[in-house]
């Protein structure tokens, strides 16, 4: 008990005014704005895929893009909510991306079934995975830098969702940049590596977000 009293005295002795962290919605809007600006600048340099207008005629491609954007937005919100010890008392928002990811998997499955006869595979393979990961590095670093300033009590989930947010930025860029309609290629070299990286994110959280 004496130790507790001493500790309270020490902690309260030099207490100074503290600025509260922004609301998670404000925080996520900030991250989304930065990531969107990064995407726009990147497209200004790399350009969109030449057959984008044609690709937009394919409802599965449109559905994939819409869900990717929804994943991009929900992961930003969830990562921000999860960076507060009590999830800012918005538990549902924290688990939102899991529902979207489930829907995404279903959509990809239907798109795969609808891809008959199969669209020919492109010549490249691993290059896509590498591009997505490299493209996602800046948002990854920026998000983790922001997360480390807060105080998550769900280190693994928070980190995994943040990784997913960064990689969804990369996935959007790759899908709008790369001229490819093979769903098998997309599953194999885009989304499975993203899933693997998100699982790796669970481990990373214990290392990078400890406080």
């Amino acid at each position: 008990m004496e130790n507790i009293e001493q500790l309270v005295a020490t902690l309260s002795k030099d207490v100074t005014p503290v600025k509260s962290a922004p609301h998670p919605y404000v925080l996520s809007l900030k991250w989304l704005a930065i990531a969107s600006a990064y995407l726009i600048v990147s497209f200004a340099f790399s350009g969109f895929r030449p057959d984008l207008a044609n690709a937009m005629q394919n409802p599965w491609f449109v559905a994939e893009l819409v869900l990717l954007f929804v994943l991009f937005i929900t992961t930003a919100i969830a990562a921000a909510v999860l960076s507060f010890p009590d999830m800012h008392q918005k538990r549902n928002m924290a688990y939102g991306p899991l529902w979207v990811a489930g829907l995404f998997v279903l959509m990809i499955l239907f798109a795969w079934l609808a891809d008959s006869p199969s669209t020919p595979l492109p010549m490249h393979s691993l290059a896509c995975t590498v591009s997505i990961i490299l493209f996602s590095l800046p948002p990854f670093v920026a998000t983790f830098y922001a997360l480390r300033k807060l105080a998550s009590t769900h280190l693994r989930l928070s980190s995994s969702i943040a990784v997913l947010f960064a990689l969804s930025t990369g996935a959007i860029w790759e899908r709008l940049h790369e001229q490819n309609d093979s769903i098998i290629h997309v599953i194999e070299w885009h989304y499975l590596p993203i899933l693997a990286c998100s699982v790796l994110g669970l481990w990373l959280g214990k290392k990078l977000l400890k406080w």
Binding site: M1, I4, L7, A9, S12, S20, A21, L150, A151, T153
Partner: protein, 179 residues
């Protein structure tokens, strides 16, 4: 028991504005609020105090994540649960480590493992150089006169773990003194 009339949110808002008195009151009330929660989940009073200190430090570190507009208790309990799980995880991993060693050592331990065969004063300098846990155990057993069982109760360890720690400490001391 925690006082239900305490307005934790208001105290935290004042603390965030730099009010030291409000902050001290908040931390004291928080420790009163959390103590029963920890007592139910931990084994000894010392452990409760240790974890409570960890929690108060964490609350201090994370206070910028509380804005005073939402209930305080879920925020404080989330931090308490996080630190408690951290503590239990390391406690059980330590115990597991000790358990493996006990299995290996238990059969070879002599009956008189804790028997006093030397004057504590003559080796107290060497004892203090031992790891803290071992030094504490030897000090309690040979200076303060506690039995291994009593030491175990006081510091929240198993009796066999205390004996093993003492045995290891004797071994280290013997090696040092024989040099």
């Amino acid at each position: 028991m925690a006082d239900n009339s305490v307005d934790y949110s208001a105290l935290m808002r004042q603390a965030l504005d730099g009010d030291a008195q409000a902050y001290a009151t908040l931390l004291n009330e928080t420790s009163r609020l959390l103590r029963p929660y920890l007592v139910k989940r931990l084994f000894s009073g010392n452990e409760v105090d240790d974890v409570l200190q960890e929690i108060l430090i964490s609350i201090h570190k994370a206070r910028h994540t509380y804005d005073g507009t939402r209930p305080y208790k879920p925020w404080a309990y989330a931090i308490a649960k996080f630190r408690l799980h951290d503590h239990l995880r390391s406690h059980y991993s330590d115990n597991l480590h000790d358990a493996e060693d006990i299995d290996a050592l238990e059969n070879s331990l002599p009956e008189n493992v804790t028997k006093n065969e030397f004057l504590y004063e003559s080796i107290s300098g060497e004892v203090e150089k031992l790891p803290e846990k071992q030094a504490t155990i030897l000090r309690m057993m040979h200076q303060e006169g506690y039995t291994a069982k009593e030491v175990a109760e006081k510091i929240g360890m198993k009796e066999s773990a205390v004996k093993v720690a003492a045995h290891r400490a004797y071994k280290v001391l013997r090696e040092k003194l024989e040099r």
